[in-house]
C-alpha cells in the first residue's frame, strides 16, 4: 500500500472535494473559498458565457440536512431581489449527488479586508447604511439574516455593498422556506414546486458567530428571535467599522473578535476620539435587552443618517449647550455670512460717521 505524504494528503482531500460538473452547463475555473457547509467555486456558465459563483455542499447527500439548508438558503435569497443582496441564478444536484446553487460572481473584497481602503469615517458610515438597507429589505420580507459580520459583507470595486451568506437565515412565519428537494439535474429555480413551510431550525440550536450574536441568539432562544437580533449584529458591525484600525494596529484582531458579543463594553472602553453620538448608536443597537435596542433596522439607519447630516440622534440625548453648538456647526456658513454682513455694515456705519 502506498504511503501518502502530507502534501499528497492535502491534494487528495482537495481533489475529493472538487464538485463533479460533468454533463452540466458549468466548467470549473477555481476555488474561491470554503465554509462550514461546503465550498464556493468560480465556474463558467458555458450556456451564457459568463462566470458565476457556485456554492456546493461537501456531502453527496441530497436528502440530508446540509442539502436542505443550502436549498433553503438559495430560495430565501431568490425571494430577496435587492441591489445589496447577491442574486441566485440556478439550483440543483450535481452528478456526484451534491446540492448546489449558482449566484452572481462578486468581484470584491470582504469588509474586513476592505476596511483599510475607506478613507474617511463618513465613507464607512455610508457603507454601513447600505448594509442596513439590504437587511431592512430582508426584514420587510420576514427574513432574518442571523450571521451578520464583516466576513459576510462584500464591497465591490465600485463601492457597492452586498450582504452574503444567508445560510443561517430564519424566515419568520415560514414565508419562503421549503423542504422540497432539488432536481437531480440543474433546473431553473422557477421550475421548482411551490414552497411549503418547514421549521428547520430547532429550538435551542445555537447558530451564529460569537461576537456578533445577540445574547438571546447565543442562548439558543430561536423562537424568540426577531429583527432586533440582526440589529444587535449591526451594532457590532458598526463597532467594527468605528474601531477597526485600533484592532488592526494592535495586531491582535480578526474581524470576528472585534465585536463585543453579549457583554457590552463600558463607555470608557471605546476610543476617546470616537464621536459620542456614534458610540451611543452602537451601544443602543447592542443593548443586552432587546427591548432597549432599536426596534428595527430602519431606526438604526435613520440615526446614522441624522449623524451624517449633523442632526441629533435618538440614541444620544443632548444638553442645551451641545444642541446649540450643533446648531452653530450645522449653520456655520449662514452664521459666518451674517456676521460678515454685520461687520461690514458696522464698518460702513463708522466710516460714514467720521
Amino acid at each position: 500500500m502506498r504511503w501518502l505524504s502530507d502534501n499528497a494528503l492535502d491534494r487528495l482531500r482537495a481533489a475529493a472535494d472538487v464538485p463533479d460538473l460533468a454533463g452540466t452547463r458549468y466548467r470549473l475555473v477555481d476555488k474561491l473559498g470554503q465554509g462550514g457547509m461546503g465550498g464556493v467555486y468560480r465556474v463558467e456558465d458555458t450556456a451564457l458565457q459568463r462566470q458565476v459563483a457556485l456554492k456546493v455542499i461537501n456531502l453527496a447527500d441530497p436528502d440530508g440536512e446540509l442539502a436542505a439548508r443550502l436549498l433553503r438558503e438559495a430560495r430565501v435569497i431568490a425571494q430577496l431581489e435587492h441591489p445589496g443582496i447577491v442574486p441566485v441564478h440556478d439550483v440543483g444536484t450535481l452528478p456526484d449527488r451534491r446540492v448546489f446553487y449558482t449566484m452572481k460572481l462578486v468581484q470584491g473584497k470582504r469588509l474586513d479586508q476592505h476596511i483599510a481602503q475607506f478613507v474617511s469615517l463618513p465613507d464607512r458610515l455610508r457603507a454601513f447604511q447600505r448594509v442596513c438597507e439590504a437587511v431592512a429589505f430582508a426584514h420587510a420580507h420576514s427574513v432574518l439574516h442571523r450571521d451578520l459580520k464583516p466576513e459576510n459583507i462584500m464591497v465591490g470595486p465600485f463601492g457597492e455593498v452586498l450582504v452574503m451568506d444567508w445560510g443561517l437565515s430564519k424566515v419568520l412565519n415560514g414565508a419562503c422556506e421549503t423542504n422540497e428537494k432539488p432536481a437531480k439535474r440543474p433546473i431553473p429555480v422557477s421550475a421548482g414546486p411551490p414552497p411549503t413551510p418547514l421549521p428547520v431550525t430547532a429550538h435551542g440550536v445555537v447558530l451564529g458567530t460569537p461576537g456578533y450574536m445577540a445574547p438571546e441568539q447565543a442562548r439558543g432562544e430561536v423562537a424568540a428571535l426577531d429583527e432586533r437580533a440582526d440589529v444587535f449584529a449591526l451594532g457590532a458591525l458598526l463597532k467594527f467599522l468605528l474601531t477597526a484600525e485600533e484592532s488592526a494596529g494592535s495586531g491582535q484582531t480578526t474581524a470576528a473578535d472585534s465585536g463585543v458579543g453579549a457583554a457590552l463594553p463600558a463607555p470608557g472602553a471605546w476610543p476617546q476620539r470616537l464621536p459620542r453620538a456614534l458610540v451611543a448608536i452602537a451601544q443602543k443597537a447592542m443593548a443586552e435587552n432587546p427591548a432597549n435596542r432599536y426596534s428595527g433596522v430602519n431606526q438604526l439607519a435613520l440615526d446614522i443618517a441624522h449623524y451624517l447630516d449633523g442632526l441629533p440622534v435618538a440614541a444620544y440625548p443632548e444638553g442645551p449647550l451641545t444642541r446649540a453648538w450643533r446648531w452653530v456647526c450645522r449653520n456655520r456658513v449662514w452664521i459666518v455670512l451674517i456676521l460678515a454682513y454685520v461687520v461690514v455694515r458696522a464698518l460702513i456705519f463708522f466710516w460714514r460717521g467720521r
Binding site: 502506498r2 482531500r13 481533489a15 472535494d17 472538487v18 460533468a22 461537501n58 456531502l59
Partner: protein, 249 residues
C-alpha cells in the same frame, strides 16, 4: 507493491451493507467477523502504532508489542461490544482504548511477554517506522490531531489502492495514472493538460474528463469506506466533514 499486512492491508474487502462493518465485527459468524476486523485493522493499525510510538514515547519493540496486544483485544468478540456510538466516534473510542492499554501496561510495570499468549498479526512495522521518519514529530499537545491525521492517511491510502485495483479491473489505468500524477506525486500540478495529453497520447479534453472521473471515484470510495468505518449517520457526517477538511458546523 508489498502488502503491509496479511490482515487485509492491500486488499480490504468491505461488506456491502451500510454500517455493516461494525455490525459484522460483532457477528457470531467467524468468516464475517474476520472480514470486518481485517478491514478495521487495515485502516487503524498504522495510526495506532505511530500514536503509541510518539504519544507514549515507546521504543520500536514496545510499540510493536502494544499494537499487537491492542489488536488482539480488538479481535476478541466482546471488545467492540463495549463501544457505544452515542458516546464517541469509533476513532476516539479506539484511541482512548489504546491510551488505557498503555497506562495499564505502565502500571503493571512489567514488559509484555513478546509472543507469549498474544495472537501475532503480521503487520509491517518496518514500513510504519520508515513512514514515521518522513513526518514531522508533532508537539505533545497535538497528539489527538496527529492520530486523526494518521487515520486519514491510512484511509486515503486504502482508498487509493482500491481505486487502482478498480481502475485496472475496468481497463481505466490512464484515469488512475492521471490522478496519481496530479494529486499524489509532487510537481504534477505544474503540468498543463496539453502536456499531459501528449504524454498519454490522449486529447486534452480527455484529461479533464478522466481526471474528474478518477476524483469522483476516489471520493466515492473514501466515503464508502468511511460509511462502513462509522457506526451512525451522525458520526459518518462528522467524520466526512473532518476528513474533507470542513469544520463541523
Amino acid at each position: 507493491m508489498p502488502d503491509d499486512t496479511n490482515m487485509g492491508g492491500a486488499s480490504p474487502r468491505f461488506p456491502q451493507t451500510r454500517w455493516s462493518l461494525l455490525v459484522a465485527a460483532r457477528s457470531d459468524r467467524p468468516g464475517e467477523r474476520h472480514r470486518a476486523l481485517d478491514a478495521l485493522i487495515a485502516a487503524y493499525w498504522k495510526p495506532v502504532y505511530k500514536y503509541i510510538r510518539l504519544r507514549w514515547n515507546k521504543s520500536n519493540d514496545d510499540a510493536k508489542d502494544l499494537t499487537q496486544e491492542f489488536f488482539t483485544r480488538v479481535l476478541e468478540k466482546d471488545f467492540l461490544a463495549s463501544y457505544d456510538p452515542a458516546r464517541a466516534r469509533l476513532r476516539t473510542f479506539l484511541r482512548t482504548c489504546v491510551d488505557g492499554l498503555v497506562i495499564n501496561q505502565e502500571k503493571a510495570s512489567h514488559r509484555l511477554k513478546r509472543g507469549g499468549d498474544i495472537q501475532m498479526l503480521a503487520l509491517d512495522y518496518e514500513t510504519a517506522e520508515g513512514e514515521l521518519a518522513q513526518i514531522e514529530i508533532p508537539a505533545p499537545e497535538t497528539m489527538d490531531d496527529f492520530f486523526a491525521r494518521e487515520w486519514a492517511r491510512s484511509l486515503f491510502s486504502l482508498a487509493v489502492e482500491r481505486l487502482r485495483q478498480e481502475c485496472e479491473a475496468r481497463g481505466k489505468q490512464t484515469h488512475f495514472l492521471l490522478l496519481e500524477l496530479y494529486d499524489i506525486e509532487e510537481g504534477g500540478k505544474q503540468l498543463t493538460y496539453e502536456q499531459v495529453a501528449r504524454q498519454f497520447h490522449i486529447k486534452a479534453t480527455d484529461v479533464t474528463n478522466y481526471l474528474a472521473w478518477a476524483r469522483r471515484e476516489f471520493r466515492r470510495i473514501v466515503l464508502d469506506q468511511l460509511r462502513q468505518m462509522t457506526a451512525s449517520e451522525d458520526e459518518f457526517r462528522r467524520e466526512a466533514r473532518a476528513l474533507l477538511g470542513v469544520d463541523v458546523p
